[in-house]
């Protein structure tokens, strides 16, 4: 069985701070990490290796530096890694990213594709389902438990807004996973050694049988028109006094807004 895990190298957005004077992002020194949700996808793939004969390929689309994320994934148990990198991919929105990933996955071949539910820098949660559509395979989003995997069938639990569904799908399938699925392991010594000597295969636009008009900025239907700092219009008020006075003032405010 072949499993492809899609990962993304992202800035650790929890580390990003805003310069209060200029209202711009202070990104200097912000470390790059593997998108946290993708680590759960990778862990799920590596655990399946313990049950059956599985080859786990980790795939990322990004600049040459994204190789670091792939090597980390090898240290965590992936068998091989593919870097999808080409200037022609730059500026891709979710449509073009998904199209490109799907073309690469078709080239690699997969029975199961695993993705994190979303990347923490974009938070769109669109690339997984869109990739499944381009691959013309079914997908199940927000998988929190893999109940069983057979040669042609998979059964999982899908997180919904008010509970969960038990869903069955034919293979091949694409799953996007949530963090309740598992606890990712730490790299093993063997894995770390492996990650250093492992060869990373690089695919460019000419290797994946893609239509150039559908790649990168040119292939992306959405455009960023502008970027601006979130405005804080609300009036701010610090409530002072003794503890009792503070409580009474707050009650007064709650009455004003008709909460009481």
């Amino acid at each position: 069985m072949k499993i492809v895990v899609c990962i993304k190298q992202v800035p650790d957005t929890a580390e990003i701070k805003i310069n209060p004077e200029t209202n711009t992002l202070m990104r200097e020194g912000v470390p790059s990490i593997i998108n946290p949700f993708d680590l759960h996808a990778l862990e799920a793939a590596v655990r399946l290796k313990e049950q059956r004969t599985v080859r786990v390929t980790v795939l990322t689309m990004g600049p040459p530096q994204a190789e670091g994320a792939l090597r980390e994934a090898i240290s965590l148990g992936a068998d091989d890694a593919v870097l999808l990198s080409d200037r022609a991919f730059a500026g891709s929105d979710t449509w073009a990213t998904s199209y490109t990933l799907a073309k690469a996955i078709s080239t690699i071949g997969a029975d199961i594709v695993l993705c994190g539910k979303q990347a923490i820098d974009g938070d769109t949660a669109q690339v997984g389902p869109e990739t499944a559509e381009f691959l013309d395979i079914p997908h199940i989003s927000y998988v929190r438990k893999i109940e069983s995997v057979e040669d042609t069938m998979i059964k999982v639990q899908r997180l919904m807004d008010e509970g969960y569904d038990v869903v069955q799908s034919s293979l091949p399938v694409l799953l996007t996973v949530v963090k309740e699925l598992n606890i990712p392991r730490m790299p093993s010594i063997r894995g770390i050694l492996q990650s250093k000597k492992c060869e990373i295969r690089t695919l460019g636009k000419d290797d994946i049988n893609a239509d150039e008009n559908d790649l990168g900025l040119k292939g992306s239907p959405t455009q960023v028109k502008n970027i601006f700092a979130p405005e804080s219009t609300a009036e701010k008020k610090m409530i002072e006094g003794t503890a009792e006075e503070k409580v009474e003032s707050l009650l007064g405010e709650l009455k004003k807004i008709k909460c009481l």
């Binding site: 929890a14 600049p63 970027i227």
Partner: protein, 402 residues
């Protein structure tokens, strides 16, 4: 059109470097250089004090754009995907109808709802809430959600009726199958929009959403393709007006031999101990590291009970094991926007703020006067939650006569 730096005008002041949200400007031989990460967002154009950054005029794409314009010329009207749960339309459907009505007014067009797996009485409700027309598919197969069937029907309706805008809720269901639809009909999709407006000149849909983990906002356009698709989280848009005299048309959509590669074997409703539906709550009482343990959360529960709210938590409190993950608010938890959000013992890391800062009123209680939570708070109280909360709960109960 590509953005370039006029080398002769660039003084190498580096002002533009920080302005770029995509890290696409680098220094090369003391001059600014725009690399392939450029998304053509044009932020740097205004920043450069020398006017050295310009947009190149080009006609490379104009023929393609013109062809697309002709192809999509007859796309008009607004579609709202009206999600149902157990046969009842979810609140987010009414909120989207409110937004769609407003946009339709500006564009002088009409609003159609798409309702799958519910009956005619629910379709009638959608008309009261502002739909001019409902495409209804009552096939019982559609009661449970499968991406294949939902994506198939909505894509077919889009291709047949050619709407210019399609809106859907950013719920578990919407976020799962709407991207499939966008991929299939080959158009753009913007997730989790916080504002939708019509551009005065181009008449395109301006879709505003948080970017970079909510640290900054971006306006997204889909200028060349139709429909323009967007998802909106529950409670972001205001419901329109309910009018029980509204007239509308219900069109029954025939589906023959619905097929899906996935099948729902069982749907389980899961209510956690504290019964949280953070998305729907009007009042949320959240605790963080300052709650100190399960004891602190009991105080939050007491206040929640007195006010009729639900309990939320920061990642720190969930990681400590004081409260279940289903309560987590923030980037890796839920995004909420209640009318009132209490942040008790929460310092206010960006990861938490992005999940709650669109709440109408934020009340922060924290011992540390420098905690960043006070920057977003409508009302701030510097104090010990263990002192303030019991007093507050007691007084609220007195006032309410409980």
């Amino acid at each position: 059109m590509p953005i370039i730096v006029k080398i002769d005008k660039c003084t190498g002041c580096e002002t533009c470097l920080e302005s770029c949200p995509f890290d696409a400007i680098v220094m090369k031989e003391d001059k600014a250089y725009i690399n392939e990460y450029c998304n053509e967002c044009k932020t740097c154009l205004e920043v450069c004090p020398e006017g050295a950054i310009i947009e190149m005029a080009g006609n490379e794409n104009t023929a393609r754009k013109k062809a697309l314009k002709e192809k999509f010329a007859d796309y008009k009207g607004i579609f709202v995907f009206a999600e149902q749960r157990d046969g009842k339309a979810a609140d987010v459907s009414y909120e989207l109808l409110g937004a769609a009505r407003r946009l339709a007014g500006e564009l002088d067009t009409d609003v159609s709802a798409v309702l799958l797996g519910a009956d005619e009485s629910e379709a009638q409700e959608l008309i009261m809430w502002g739909a001019d027309r409902v495409y209804l598919c009552s096939d019982p197969e559609l009661k449970s959600f499968n991406d294949d069937t939902y994506a198939g029907i909505l894509s077919d309706l889009i291709e047949k009726h050619k709407p210019s805008i399609v809106l859907a809720g950013a719920t578990a269901i919407g976020r799962s199958f709407i991207p499939r639809v966008a991929a299939r009909v080959r158009t753009g999709l913007t997730a989790d929009c916080t504002s939708l407006e019509i551009d005065r000149d181009s008449r395109d849909l301006l879709q505003v959403r948080p970017a970079f983990g909510g640290n900054i906002m971006a306006t997204i356009l889909c200028p060349d393709y139709r429909p323009q698709m967007a998802t909106v989280r529950p409670r972001v848009m205001k419901k329109g007006t309910y009018d029980n005299k509204s007239k509308g048309e219900i069109i029954h959509v025939k589906t023959e031999g619905l097929s899906s590669r996935t099948r729902v074997l069982e749907a389980v409703k899961e209510v956690s101990e504290l019964s949280v539906n953070l998305h729907e709550a009007d009042i949320i009482i959240s605790g963080g590291r300052g709650a100190g343990g399960a004891k602190g959360f009991e105080l939050l529960e007491d206040l929640a009970e007195a006010l009729g709210g639900v309990v939320g938590a920061s990642r720190a409190a969930v990681d400590e094991g004081w409260v279940q993950y289903s309560h987590q608010v923030g980037q890796t938890g839920k995004t909420v926007n209640p009318k009132i959000y209490f942040a008790c013992g929460i310092s206010g890391a960006v990861q938490h703020l992005v999940g709650m800062q669109s709440s109408d009123i934020i009340i922060a209680i924290n011992k540390n006067p420098d905690a960043p939570i006070f920057n977003v708070a409508t009302y701030g109280i510097v104090g010990d939650m263990f002192e303030i909360l019991p007093m507050l709960t007691r007084r609220i109960k007195e006032i309410k006569g409980q």
